[in-house]
Protein backbone atom coordinates (compact mmCIF):
# COMPACT_ATOMS: atom_id res chain seq x y z
CA UNK A 1 0.00 0.00 0.00
CA UNK A 2 1.34 3.39 -0.84
CA UNK A 3 0.54 6.44 1.10
CA UNK A 4 -0.16 9.56 -0.87
CA UNK A 5 3.34 10.83 -0.01
CA UNK A 6 5.05 7.70 -1.25
CA UNK A 7 2.99 7.75 -4.45
CA UNK A 8 3.92 11.37 -5.04
CA UNK A 9 7.60 10.56 -4.63
CA UNK A 10 7.33 7.69 -7.15
CA UNK A 11 5.42 9.91 -9.56
CA UNK A 12 8.06 12.60 -9.30
CA UNK A 13 10.78 10.00 -9.82
CA UNK A 14 9.00 8.63 -12.89
CA UNK A 15 8.42 12.14 -14.20
CA UNK A 16 12.05 13.06 -13.63
CA UNK A 17 13.18 9.96 -15.53
CA UNK A 18 10.79 10.69 -18.38
CA UNK A 19 12.06 14.25 -18.55
CA UNK A 20 15.63 13.00 -18.58
CA UNK A 21 14.84 10.56 -21.40
CA UNK A 22 13.14 13.33 -23.34
CA UNK A 23 16.10 15.62 -22.92
CA UNK A 24 18.46 12.83 -23.91
CA UNK A 25 16.50 12.21 -27.11
CA UNK A 26 16.58 15.92 -27.86
CA UNK A 27 20.33 15.73 -27.47
CA UNK A 28 20.42 12.81 -29.89
CA UNK A 29 18.48 14.85 -32.47
CA UNK A 30 20.86 17.77 -32.00
CA UNK A 31 23.77 15.37 -32.44
CA UNK A 32 22.25 13.98 -35.64
CA UNK A 33 21.86 17.44 -37.12
CA UNK A 34 25.36 18.32 -36.03
CA UNK A 35 26.71 15.15 -37.68
CA UNK A 36 25.06 16.03 -40.98
CA UNK A 37 26.43 19.55 -40.92
CA UNK A 38 29.86 18.26 -39.86
CA UNK A 39 29.97 15.80 -42.78
CA UNK A 40 29.07 18.53 -45.22
CA UNK A 41 31.64 20.90 -43.79
CA UNK A 42 34.35 18.22 -43.86
CA UNK A 43 33.68 17.27 -47.47
CA UNK A 44 33.39 20.82 -48.77
CA UNK A 45 36.42 21.87 -46.75
CA UNK A 46 38.48 18.95 -48.11
CA UNK A 47 37.57 19.83 -51.66
CA UNK A 48 38.11 23.54 -51.16
CA UNK A 49 41.43 23.16 -49.40
CA UNK A 50 42.92 20.75 -51.92
CA UNK A 51 41.25 22.17 -54.98
CA UNK A 52 41.19 25.93 -54.70
CA UNK A 53 44.95 26.19 -54.49
CA UNK A 54 45.26 24.43 -57.84
CA UNK A 55 43.05 26.86 -59.68
CA UNK A 56 44.77 29.03 -62.20
CA UNK A 57 44.01 30.72 -65.46
CA UNK A 58 45.82 27.90 -67.23
CA UNK A 59 43.66 25.33 -65.52
CA UNK A 60 40.53 26.91 -66.84
CA UNK A 61 41.72 27.62 -70.34
CA UNK A 62 44.19 24.93 -71.34
CA UNK A 63 43.11 21.43 -72.33
CA UNK A 64 44.51 18.25 -70.86
CA UNK A 65 47.65 17.40 -72.80
CA UNK A 66 48.85 13.96 -71.91
CA UNK A 67 51.97 13.92 -74.01
CA UNK A 68 53.81 16.86 -72.55
CA UNK A 69 53.88 17.10 -68.78
CA UNK A 70 56.11 20.16 -69.03
CA UNK A 71 53.31 22.15 -70.61
CA UNK A 72 50.76 23.79 -68.33
CA UNK A 73 47.85 21.42 -67.99
CA UNK A 74 44.26 22.33 -67.62
CA UNK A 75 40.82 20.92 -68.09
CA UNK A 76 39.45 23.33 -70.66
CA UNK A 77 38.27 20.45 -72.83
CA UNK A 78 36.20 19.11 -69.94
CA UNK A 79 34.60 22.49 -69.17
CA UNK A 80 33.71 22.96 -72.85
CA UNK A 81 32.35 19.44 -73.12
CA UNK A 82 30.18 19.74 -70.02
CA UNK A 83 28.83 23.07 -71.25
CA UNK A 84 27.92 21.68 -74.68
CA UNK A 85 26.36 18.50 -73.31
CA UNK A 86 24.34 20.19 -70.57
CA UNK A 87 23.20 22.97 -72.92
CA UNK A 88 21.92 20.50 -75.50
CA UNK A 89 20.33 18.37 -72.79
CA UNK A 90 18.46 21.42 -71.48
CA UNK A 91 17.34 22.30 -75.01
CA UNK A 92 15.95 18.76 -75.29
CA UNK A 93 14.35 18.48 -71.85
CA UNK A 94 12.85 21.95 -71.43
CA UNK A 95 10.28 21.98 -74.26
CA UNK A 96 9.46 18.35 -73.62
CA UNK A 97 8.92 18.90 -69.92
CA UNK A 98 6.77 21.97 -70.48
CA UNK A 99 4.59 20.14 -73.00
CA UNK A 100 4.10 17.23 -70.63
CA UNK A 101 3.20 19.65 -67.85
CA UNK A 102 0.74 21.49 -70.09
CA UNK A 103 -0.97 18.26 -71.05
CA UNK A 104 -1.18 17.04 -67.46
CA UNK A 105 -2.54 20.29 -66.13
CA UNK A 106 -4.77 21.52 -68.92
CA UNK A 107 -6.03 18.54 -70.86
CA UNK A 108 -5.54 15.28 -69.05
CA UNK A 109 -8.18 13.23 -67.32
CA UNK A 110 -7.50 12.17 -63.74
CA UNK A 111 -6.51 8.69 -64.82
CA UNK A 112 -3.84 9.97 -67.22
CA UNK A 113 -2.65 12.50 -64.66
CA UNK A 114 -2.02 9.71 -62.18
CA UNK A 115 -0.37 7.54 -64.80
CA UNK A 116 2.02 10.28 -65.88
CA UNK A 117 2.73 11.15 -62.26
CA UNK A 118 3.64 7.54 -61.63
CA UNK A 119 5.78 7.36 -64.75
CA UNK A 120 7.68 10.50 -63.79
CA UNK A 121 8.38 9.03 -60.36
CA UNK A 122 9.52 5.75 -61.89
CA UNK A 123 11.75 7.64 -64.28
CA UNK A 124 13.31 9.57 -61.44
CA UNK A 125 14.05 6.31 -59.65
CA UNK A 126 15.89 4.68 -62.54
CA UNK A 127 19.59 4.63 -61.68
CA UNK A 128 21.74 6.94 -63.78
CA UNK A 129 23.96 4.06 -64.85
CA UNK A 130 20.96 2.20 -66.26
CA UNK A 131 19.90 5.28 -68.21
CA UNK A 132 23.42 5.53 -69.57
CA UNK A 133 23.32 1.90 -70.64
CA UNK A 134 19.87 2.44 -72.17
CA UNK A 135 21.10 5.29 -74.37
CA UNK A 136 24.19 3.21 -75.17
CA UNK A 137 21.97 0.46 -76.55
CA UNK A 138 19.57 2.84 -78.26
CA UNK A 139 21.98 5.27 -79.91
CA UNK A 140 25.66 4.40 -79.44
CA UNK A 141 25.58 0.75 -80.50
CA UNK A 142 23.54 1.15 -83.71
CA UNK A 143 25.63 4.15 -84.78
CA UNK A 144 28.84 2.44 -83.64
CA UNK A 145 29.94 5.72 -82.18
CA UNK A 146 29.81 7.68 -78.98
CA UNK A 147 28.80 11.33 -79.11
CA UNK A 148 28.01 14.32 -76.96
CA UNK A 149 24.50 14.20 -78.41
CA UNK A 150 23.96 10.73 -77.00
CA UNK A 151 25.21 11.93 -73.62
CA UNK A 152 22.86 14.92 -73.84
CA UNK A 153 19.94 12.63 -74.54
CA UNK A 154 20.79 10.57 -71.46
CA UNK A 155 20.97 13.70 -69.32
CA UNK A 156 17.74 15.00 -70.84
CA UNK A 157 15.96 11.79 -69.80
CA UNK A 158 17.18 12.46 -66.25
CA UNK A 159 16.13 16.11 -66.35
CA UNK A 160 12.63 15.43 -67.67
CA UNK A 161 10.97 14.36 -64.40
CA UNK A 162 12.37 17.37 -62.53
CA UNK A 163 11.40 19.91 -65.18
CA UNK A 164 7.97 18.38 -65.76
CA UNK A 165 7.16 18.14 -62.05
CA UNK A 166 8.15 21.68 -61.17
CA UNK A 167 6.22 23.05 -64.14
CA UNK A 168 3.15 21.03 -63.17
CA UNK A 169 3.32 22.36 -59.62
CA UNK A 170 3.65 25.93 -60.75
CA UNK A 171 0.90 25.60 -63.38
CA UNK A 172 -1.40 24.34 -60.65
CA UNK A 173 -0.70 27.51 -58.70
CA UNK A 174 -1.95 29.73 -61.51
CA UNK A 175 -5.43 30.74 -60.36
CA UNK A 176 -8.26 29.31 -62.44
CA UNK A 177 -9.88 32.73 -62.39
CA UNK A 178 -7.20 33.86 -64.80
CA UNK A 179 -8.03 31.06 -67.21
CA UNK A 180 -11.76 31.62 -66.91
CA UNK A 181 -11.39 35.33 -67.50
CA UNK A 182 -9.36 34.74 -70.62
CA UNK A 183 -11.73 32.11 -71.99
CA UNK A 184 -14.67 34.30 -71.08
CA UNK A 185 -13.19 37.09 -73.21
CA UNK A 186 -13.25 34.72 -76.18
CA UNK A 187 -9.54 33.91 -76.25
CA UNK A 188 -9.06 30.40 -77.70
CA UNK A 189 -7.92 27.65 -75.35
CA UNK A 190 -4.50 27.31 -76.82
CA UNK A 191 -3.79 31.02 -76.64
CA UNK A 192 -4.98 31.06 -73.07
CA UNK A 193 -2.53 28.36 -72.16
CA UNK A 194 0.40 29.73 -74.11
CA UNK A 195 -0.22 33.42 -73.67
CA UNK A 196 -1.79 33.72 -70.22
CA UNK A 197 -1.11 30.65 -68.09
CA UNK A 198 2.39 29.76 -69.23
CA UNK A 199 3.98 33.18 -68.71
CA UNK A 200 2.84 33.02 -65.09
CA UNK A 201 4.82 29.84 -64.66
CA UNK A 202 8.08 31.02 -66.18
CA UNK A 203 9.66 31.58 -62.78
CA UNK A 204 8.75 28.15 -61.51
CA UNK A 205 9.89 26.43 -64.70
CA UNK A 206 13.18 28.28 -64.55
CA UNK A 207 13.60 27.04 -61.00
CA UNK A 208 12.95 23.49 -62.16
CA UNK A 209 15.40 23.82 -65.03
CA UNK A 210 18.10 25.29 -62.79
CA UNK A 211 17.63 22.48 -60.29
CA UNK A 212 17.75 19.92 -63.08
CA UNK A 213 20.92 21.45 -64.49
CA UNK A 214 22.52 21.45 -61.05
CA UNK A 215 21.60 17.80 -60.74
CA UNK A 216 22.83 16.49 -64.09
CA UNK A 217 25.93 18.66 -64.50
CA UNK A 218 27.59 16.49 -61.87
CA UNK A 219 26.43 13.13 -63.19
CA UNK A 220 29.11 10.74 -64.36
CA UNK A 221 27.24 7.48 -64.88
CA UNK A 222 25.23 8.49 -67.97
CA UNK A 223 28.41 9.82 -69.58
CA UNK A 224 30.39 6.60 -69.15
CA UNK A 225 28.80 4.79 -72.04
CA UNK A 226 27.95 7.71 -74.26
CA UNK A 227 30.87 10.15 -74.22
CA UNK A 228 33.93 8.60 -72.60
CA UNK A 229 36.26 7.55 -75.42
CA UNK A 230 37.38 11.08 -76.19
CA UNK A 231 40.22 12.42 -78.26
CA UNK A 232 42.71 14.81 -76.72
CA UNK A 233 42.30 18.51 -77.36
CA UNK A 234 39.35 20.86 -76.91
CA UNK A 235 36.40 20.30 -79.22
CA UNK A 236 32.94 21.87 -79.49
CA UNK A 237 31.61 19.31 -81.94
CA UNK A 238 28.55 17.54 -80.49
CA UNK A 239 28.78 14.62 -82.92
CA UNK A 240 31.99 13.56 -81.21
CA UNK A 241 32.46 12.21 -77.73
CA UNK A 242 33.47 15.16 -75.56
CA UNK A 243 35.25 15.11 -72.22
CA UNK A 244 33.20 16.21 -69.24
CA UNK A 245 34.17 17.50 -65.83
CA UNK A 246 32.63 14.64 -63.79
CA UNK A 247 34.28 12.04 -66.01
CA UNK A 248 37.61 13.86 -65.78
CA UNK A 249 37.36 13.75 -61.99
CA UNK A 250 36.39 10.08 -62.13
CA UNK A 251 39.36 9.12 -64.28
CA UNK A 252 41.84 11.35 -62.45
CA UNK A 253 40.75 10.03 -59.05
CA UNK A 254 42.17 6.62 -59.95
CA UNK A 255 45.64 8.00 -60.63
CA UNK A 256 47.99 7.90 -57.68
CA UNK A 257 50.43 10.54 -58.94
CA UNK A 258 50.16 13.89 -57.25
CA UNK A 259 49.59 16.20 -60.27
CA UNK A 260 46.64 14.10 -61.43
CA UNK A 261 45.13 14.06 -57.98
CA UNK A 262 45.57 17.81 -57.68
CA UNK A 263 43.77 18.29 -60.97
CA UNK A 264 41.00 16.03 -59.73
CA UNK A 265 40.53 18.16 -56.60
CA UNK A 266 40.61 21.38 -58.60
CA UNK A 267 37.99 20.07 -61.01
CA UNK A 268 35.90 18.85 -58.07
CA UNK A 269 36.12 22.32 -56.55
CA UNK A 270 34.96 24.01 -59.75
CA UNK A 271 32.12 21.52 -60.18
CA UNK A 272 31.02 21.89 -56.57
CA UNK A 273 31.05 25.68 -56.77
CA UNK A 274 29.00 25.60 -59.97
CA UNK A 275 26.44 23.25 -58.49
CA UNK A 276 26.17 25.19 -55.23
CA UNK A 277 25.75 28.39 -57.20
CA UNK A 278 23.06 26.81 -59.39
CA UNK A 279 21.23 25.46 -56.32
CA UNK A 280 21.31 28.89 -54.68
CA UNK A 281 20.07 30.46 -57.91
CA UNK A 282 17.22 27.93 -58.02
CA UNK A 283 16.28 28.73 -54.44
CA UNK A 284 16.29 32.46 -55.17
CA UNK A 285 14.16 31.93 -58.28
CA UNK A 286 11.72 29.80 -56.32
CA UNK A 287 11.19 32.45 -53.66
CA UNK A 288 10.82 35.11 -56.32
CA UNK A 289 8.24 33.20 -58.35
CA UNK A 290 6.25 32.29 -55.25
CA UNK A 291 6.12 35.95 -54.32
CA UNK A 292 4.98 36.88 -57.82
CA UNK A 293 2.24 34.29 -57.92
CA UNK A 294 1.20 35.34 -54.45
CA UNK A 295 0.73 38.88 -55.76
CA UNK A 296 -1.21 37.68 -58.82
CA UNK A 297 -3.79 36.17 -56.50
Amino acid sequence: MSTAGHGALTRTKILKRQQAVSRAMEGVAWLAAFTAVAILVVVVWSVARRGASQLSFDFLTKPQIAYDPTQPQGLANAFVGTFVIVAIATAMALPFGILVAIYVNEFATRWIRNAIGLVLDLLQGVPAIVIGFFVFGLIVLPLHQQSALAASFALAVMMLPLVARTTIEVLKLVPSSLREASLGLGVPRWRTVVGVVLPQSVGGTLTGVTLAVARVAGETAPILFTSSLVANGTSWNPTHALMTVPLAIFELSDQPDLPSQQRAWAAAFVLLMFILFASLAARWLATRSKRKLGRAR
Binding site: E26, Y103, L122, L271
Partner: protein, 303 residues
Amino acid sequence: MRLGDFVLQGVAGAAAFASLGLVALIVIEIVHRARPAYSAFGFSFVYRVIWDPVHDVYGAGSYLFGTVITSFGALLLAAPLAIGIGLFLSELAPKGILAPVTALVETLAAIPSVVIGLWGLIVLAPFLRDHVDPALHSVLGFIPLFGQAAVGPSLFTAIIVLTIMILPIIASISRELFLAVPSELKEGALGLGATRWQMVRGVSLSYSRSGIAAAMILGLGRALGEAIAVTQVIGGGTEILWNLFTPGDTLASKIAANYQGTSGLLETPALLYLATILLVFSLITSVLAQLIVRHAARQHGAQ
Protein backbone atom coordinates in the same frame (compact mmCIF):
# COMPACT_ATOMS: atom_id res chain seq x y z
CA MET B 1 -9.65 28.59 -83.18
CA ARG B 2 -10.31 24.89 -83.13
CA LEU B 3 -7.12 24.14 -85.06
CA GLY B 4 -4.90 25.84 -82.48
CA ASP B 5 -6.50 23.92 -79.66
CA PHE B 6 -6.19 20.72 -81.60
CA VAL B 7 -2.53 21.31 -82.36
CA LEU B 8 -1.62 22.20 -78.78
CA GLN B 9 -3.47 19.25 -77.34
CA GLY B 10 -1.95 16.99 -79.97
CA VAL B 11 1.63 18.11 -79.44
CA ALA B 12 1.37 18.19 -75.67
CA GLY B 13 -0.41 14.84 -75.71
CA ALA B 14 2.30 13.37 -77.88
CA ALA B 15 4.91 14.53 -75.38
CA ALA B 16 2.92 13.09 -72.49
CA PHE B 17 2.46 9.72 -74.11
CA ALA B 18 6.08 9.71 -75.19
CA SER B 19 7.06 10.08 -71.56
CA LEU B 20 4.78 7.18 -70.70
CA GLY B 21 6.56 5.17 -73.35
CA LEU B 22 10.01 6.22 -72.14
CA VAL B 23 10.07 3.93 -69.13
CA ALA B 24 8.74 1.09 -71.22
CA LEU B 25 11.40 1.82 -73.84
CA ILE B 26 14.13 1.71 -71.20
CA VAL B 27 12.94 -1.66 -69.96
CA ILE B 28 12.60 -3.07 -73.46
CA GLU B 29 16.00 -1.85 -74.61
CA ILE B 30 17.87 -3.15 -71.57
CA VAL B 31 16.11 -6.52 -71.56
CA HIS B 32 16.55 -6.91 -75.31
CA ARG B 33 20.28 -6.26 -75.19
CA ALA B 34 20.65 -8.62 -72.25
CA ARG B 35 18.90 -11.47 -74.04
CA PRO B 36 22.08 -13.25 -75.26
CA ALA B 37 23.24 -13.53 -71.66
CA TYR B 38 19.82 -14.71 -70.52
CA SER B 39 19.73 -17.39 -73.21
CA ALA B 40 23.21 -18.54 -72.29
CA PHE B 41 22.92 -18.57 -68.50
CA GLY B 42 19.26 -18.54 -67.65
CA PHE B 43 18.10 -17.63 -64.19
CA SER B 44 21.06 -19.25 -62.45
CA PHE B 45 23.05 -16.18 -63.49
CA VAL B 46 21.43 -14.35 -60.63
CA TYR B 47 23.10 -16.38 -57.91
CA ARG B 48 26.24 -17.81 -59.53
CA VAL B 49 29.46 -16.31 -58.23
CA ILE B 50 31.73 -16.05 -61.25
CA TRP B 51 32.94 -13.46 -63.73
CA ASP B 52 35.32 -15.02 -66.21
CA PRO B 53 35.85 -13.24 -69.54
CA VAL B 54 38.43 -15.82 -70.60
CA HIS B 55 35.94 -18.69 -70.51
CA ASP B 56 32.96 -16.41 -71.17
CA VAL B 57 31.03 -17.44 -68.07
CA TYR B 58 29.38 -14.86 -65.85
CA GLY B 59 27.16 -14.64 -62.80
CA ALA B 60 25.71 -11.90 -60.65
CA GLY B 61 26.05 -13.63 -57.29
CA SER B 62 28.86 -11.63 -55.72
CA TYR B 63 27.46 -8.33 -57.05
CA LEU B 64 24.00 -9.06 -55.73
CA PHE B 65 25.55 -9.81 -52.36
CA GLY B 66 27.54 -6.57 -52.40
CA THR B 67 24.51 -4.55 -53.46
CA VAL B 68 22.31 -5.95 -50.70
CA ILE B 69 24.94 -5.60 -47.96
CA THR B 70 25.99 -2.06 -48.85
CA SER B 71 22.50 -0.71 -49.47
CA PHE B 72 20.89 -2.19 -46.39
CA GLY B 73 23.97 -1.35 -44.32
CA ALA B 74 23.74 2.26 -45.44
CA LEU B 75 19.99 2.33 -44.71
CA LEU B 76 20.63 0.92 -41.24
CA LEU B 77 23.04 3.75 -40.48
CA ALA B 78 21.27 6.54 -42.33
CA ALA B 79 17.65 6.00 -41.27
CA PRO B 80 17.95 6.76 -37.53
CA LEU B 81 20.33 9.63 -38.25
CA ALA B 82 18.00 11.09 -40.89
CA ILE B 83 14.91 10.75 -38.73
CA GLY B 84 16.79 12.50 -35.94
CA ILE B 85 17.66 15.31 -38.32
CA GLY B 86 14.05 15.52 -39.49
CA LEU B 87 12.89 15.80 -35.90
CA PHE B 88 15.48 18.43 -35.18
CA LEU B 89 14.48 20.53 -38.17
CA SER B 90 10.76 20.27 -37.42
CA GLU B 91 10.65 20.49 -33.63
CA LEU B 92 13.84 21.56 -32.00
CA ALA B 93 15.79 23.99 -34.14
CA PRO B 94 15.85 27.52 -32.79
CA LYS B 95 14.71 30.09 -35.33
CA GLY B 96 18.16 31.43 -36.08
CA ILE B 97 19.70 28.14 -37.19
CA LEU B 98 16.66 26.46 -38.73
CA ALA B 99 17.07 28.00 -42.18
CA PRO B 100 20.84 27.59 -42.45
CA VAL B 101 20.82 23.99 -41.23
CA THR B 102 17.98 23.07 -43.61
CA ALA B 103 19.94 24.62 -46.45
CA LEU B 104 23.08 22.77 -45.41
CA VAL B 105 21.32 19.42 -45.33
CA GLU B 106 19.91 20.05 -48.79
CA THR B 107 23.35 21.06 -49.99
CA LEU B 108 24.67 17.68 -48.91
CA ALA B 109 22.23 16.18 -51.41
CA ALA B 110 23.57 18.39 -54.17
CA ILE B 111 27.18 17.16 -53.96
CA PRO B 112 27.84 15.05 -57.07
CA SER B 113 28.61 11.36 -56.51
CA VAL B 114 31.99 11.62 -58.19
CA VAL B 115 33.10 14.29 -55.72
CA ILE B 116 31.96 12.20 -52.76
CA GLY B 117 33.74 9.24 -54.34
CA LEU B 118 36.95 11.24 -54.77
CA TRP B 119 36.79 12.38 -51.15
CA GLY B 120 35.88 8.87 -50.05
CA LEU B 121 38.83 7.31 -51.84
CA ILE B 122 41.54 9.79 -50.86
CA VAL B 123 40.38 11.08 -47.46
CA LEU B 124 37.83 8.68 -45.97
CA ALA B 125 39.25 5.29 -46.98
CA PRO B 126 42.71 5.76 -45.43
CA PHE B 127 41.11 7.25 -42.32
CA LEU B 128 38.79 4.27 -41.93
CA ARG B 129 41.57 1.81 -42.65
CA ASP B 130 43.96 3.32 -40.11
CA HIS B 131 41.61 4.33 -37.30
CA VAL B 132 38.08 3.03 -37.55
CA ASP B 133 38.36 -0.47 -39.03
CA PRO B 134 40.98 -1.74 -36.56
CA ALA B 135 38.99 -0.29 -33.65
CA LEU B 136 35.81 -1.98 -34.84
CA HIS B 137 37.71 -5.18 -35.38
CA SER B 138 39.16 -5.19 -31.89
CA VAL B 139 35.77 -4.51 -30.29
CA LEU B 140 33.45 -6.52 -32.56
CA GLY B 141 35.95 -8.93 -34.08
CA PHE B 142 34.05 -11.97 -32.82
CA ILE B 143 31.46 -11.24 -35.50
CA PRO B 144 32.84 -12.36 -38.88
CA LEU B 145 31.51 -9.16 -40.44
CA PHE B 146 34.16 -7.19 -38.61
CA GLY B 147 37.15 -9.30 -39.51
CA GLN B 148 40.72 -8.32 -40.22
CA ALA B 149 41.08 -4.91 -41.78
CA ALA B 150 43.96 -4.31 -44.14
CA VAL B 151 42.94 -2.13 -47.03
CA GLY B 152 41.13 1.14 -47.56
CA PRO B 153 38.72 0.35 -50.38
CA SER B 154 36.15 -2.03 -48.94
CA LEU B 155 32.46 -2.83 -48.48
CA PHE B 156 32.54 -0.85 -45.25
CA THR B 157 33.91 2.28 -46.92
CA ALA B 158 31.17 1.95 -49.52
CA ILE B 159 28.55 1.66 -46.77
CA ILE B 160 29.77 4.89 -45.16
CA VAL B 161 29.81 6.71 -48.50
CA LEU B 162 26.29 5.50 -49.33
CA THR B 163 25.07 6.54 -45.88
CA ILE B 164 26.26 10.08 -46.56
CA MET B 165 24.52 10.07 -49.92
CA ILE B 166 21.10 8.85 -48.84
CA LEU B 167 21.01 10.80 -45.58
CA PRO B 168 19.65 14.06 -47.08
CA ILE B 169 16.74 12.44 -48.97
CA ILE B 170 15.39 10.61 -45.95
CA ALA B 171 16.03 13.62 -43.71
CA SER B 172 14.17 16.16 -45.84
CA ILE B 173 11.19 13.86 -46.41
CA SER B 174 11.06 13.11 -42.66
CA ARG B 175 11.16 16.81 -41.92
CA GLU B 176 8.18 17.47 -44.19
CA LEU B 177 6.30 14.57 -42.68
CA PHE B 178 6.78 15.80 -39.14
CA LEU B 179 5.77 19.32 -40.13
CA ALA B 180 2.58 17.89 -41.61
CA VAL B 181 1.47 16.25 -38.37
CA PRO B 182 -1.68 18.11 -37.28
CA SER B 183 -0.72 20.43 -34.45
CA GLU B 184 -3.91 19.62 -32.52
CA LEU B 185 -2.68 16.10 -32.07
CA LYS B 186 0.71 17.28 -30.88
CA GLU B 187 -0.66 19.91 -28.53
CA GLY B 188 -3.18 17.48 -27.26
CA ALA B 189 -0.48 15.08 -26.20
CA LEU B 190 1.58 17.80 -24.58
CA GLY B 191 -1.48 19.11 -22.83
CA LEU B 192 -2.03 15.68 -21.31
CA GLY B 193 1.41 15.95 -19.69
CA ALA B 194 3.56 14.04 -22.17
CA THR B 195 7.21 14.95 -22.46
CA ARG B 196 8.55 16.18 -25.80
CA TRP B 197 9.94 12.76 -26.58
CA GLN B 198 6.74 10.97 -25.58
CA MET B 199 4.80 13.30 -27.84
CA VAL B 200 7.17 12.67 -30.75
CA ARG B 201 7.12 8.93 -30.23
CA GLY B 202 3.41 8.63 -29.63
CA VAL B 203 2.11 11.19 -32.11
CA SER B 204 4.58 12.38 -34.74
CA LEU B 205 6.35 9.10 -35.40
CA SER B 206 3.23 6.98 -35.44
CA TYR B 207 1.32 9.46 -37.60
CA SER B 208 4.17 9.61 -40.10
CA ARG B 209 4.93 5.91 -39.91
CA SER B 210 4.09 5.10 -43.52
CA GLY B 211 5.70 8.23 -44.88
CA ILE B 212 8.93 7.42 -43.12
CA ALA B 213 8.78 3.88 -44.47
CA ALA B 214 8.35 5.31 -47.96
CA ALA B 215 11.26 7.69 -47.39
CA MET B 216 13.45 4.82 -46.30
CA ILE B 217 12.50 2.82 -49.35
CA LEU B 218 13.35 5.78 -51.58
CA GLY B 219 16.69 6.09 -49.81
CA LEU B 220 17.26 2.37 -50.33
CA GLY B 221 16.47 2.73 -54.02
CA ARG B 222 19.01 5.51 -54.29
CA ALA B 223 21.65 3.40 -52.57
CA LEU B 224 20.92 0.39 -54.79
CA GLY B 225 21.50 2.38 -57.94
CA GLU B 226 24.58 4.36 -56.97
CA ALA B 227 27.42 3.40 -59.29
CA ILE B 228 30.11 6.04 -59.33
CA ALA B 229 30.89 6.80 -55.71
CA VAL B 230 30.64 3.09 -54.89
CA THR B 231 32.96 1.95 -57.63
CA GLN B 232 35.55 4.48 -56.55
CA VAL B 233 35.73 3.16 -52.99
CA ILE B 234 34.64 -0.45 -52.98
CA GLY B 235 37.78 -2.11 -54.35
CA GLY B 236 36.37 -4.29 -57.12
CA GLY B 237 36.25 -7.57 -55.22
CA THR B 238 35.04 -10.70 -56.98
CA GLU B 239 33.97 -13.16 -54.32
CA ILE B 240 31.40 -13.29 -51.56
CA LEU B 241 33.37 -12.53 -48.43
CA TRP B 242 31.54 -11.83 -45.19
CA ASN B 243 34.22 -9.50 -43.87
CA LEU B 244 33.06 -5.92 -44.36
CA PHE B 245 36.65 -4.70 -44.42
CA THR B 246 37.46 -6.50 -47.67
CA PRO B 247 36.95 -5.28 -51.22
CA GLY B 248 33.60 -6.06 -52.76
CA ASP B 249 31.47 -4.96 -55.66
CA THR B 250 27.86 -4.11 -56.44
CA LEU B 251 25.67 -4.45 -59.54
CA ALA B 252 25.87 -0.76 -60.43
CA SER B 253 29.54 -0.49 -59.58
CA LYS B 254 30.49 -3.50 -61.76
CA ILE B 255 28.68 -1.98 -64.72
CA ALA B 256 30.50 1.33 -64.21
CA ALA B 257 33.87 -0.37 -63.84
CA ASN B 258 33.63 -1.87 -67.33
CA TYR B 259 32.71 1.26 -69.21
CA GLN B 260 35.79 1.21 -71.38
CA GLY B 261 34.80 -2.00 -73.07
CA THR B 262 34.68 -5.73 -72.62
CA SER B 263 36.66 -8.61 -74.03
CA GLY B 264 34.44 -11.66 -73.64
CA LEU B 265 31.82 -12.17 -76.33
CA LEU B 266 28.99 -12.42 -73.82
CA GLU B 267 30.46 -9.91 -71.39
CA THR B 268 28.47 -6.87 -72.50
CA PRO B 269 25.15 -8.78 -72.51
CA ALA B 270 26.11 -10.08 -69.06
CA LEU B 271 26.59 -6.50 -67.87
CA LEU B 272 23.18 -5.69 -69.33
CA TYR B 273 21.77 -8.62 -67.43
CA LEU B 274 23.16 -6.97 -64.28
CA ALA B 275 21.45 -3.75 -65.41
CA THR B 276 18.18 -5.65 -65.80
CA ILE B 277 18.37 -6.86 -62.21
CA LEU B 278 19.15 -3.30 -61.10
CA LEU B 279 16.24 -1.94 -63.12
CA VAL B 280 13.87 -4.44 -61.54
CA PHE B 281 15.05 -3.38 -58.08
CA SER B 282 14.61 0.30 -58.81
CA LEU B 283 11.13 -0.16 -60.28
CA ILE B 284 10.07 -2.27 -57.30
CA THR B 285 11.32 0.29 -54.77
CA SER B 286 9.71 3.19 -56.67
CA VAL B 287 6.36 1.43 -56.95
CA LEU B 288 6.51 0.27 -53.32
CA ALA B 289 7.19 3.80 -52.09
CA GLN B 290 4.30 5.09 -54.21
CA LEU B 291 1.91 2.45 -52.89
CA ILE B 292 2.82 3.25 -49.29
CA VAL B 293 2.34 6.98 -49.85
CA ARG B 294 -1.04 6.43 -51.46
CA HIS B 295 -2.14 4.07 -48.73
CA ALA B 296 -1.06 6.54 -46.06
CA ALA B 297 -2.85 9.41 -47.82
CA ARG B 298 -6.05 7.39 -47.88
CA GLN B 299 -5.65 6.55 -44.20
CA HIS B 300 -5.06 10.12 -43.17
CA GLY B 301 -7.84 11.30 -45.42
CA ALA B 302 -10.22 8.96 -43.66
CA GLN B 303 -9.23 10.24 -40.24
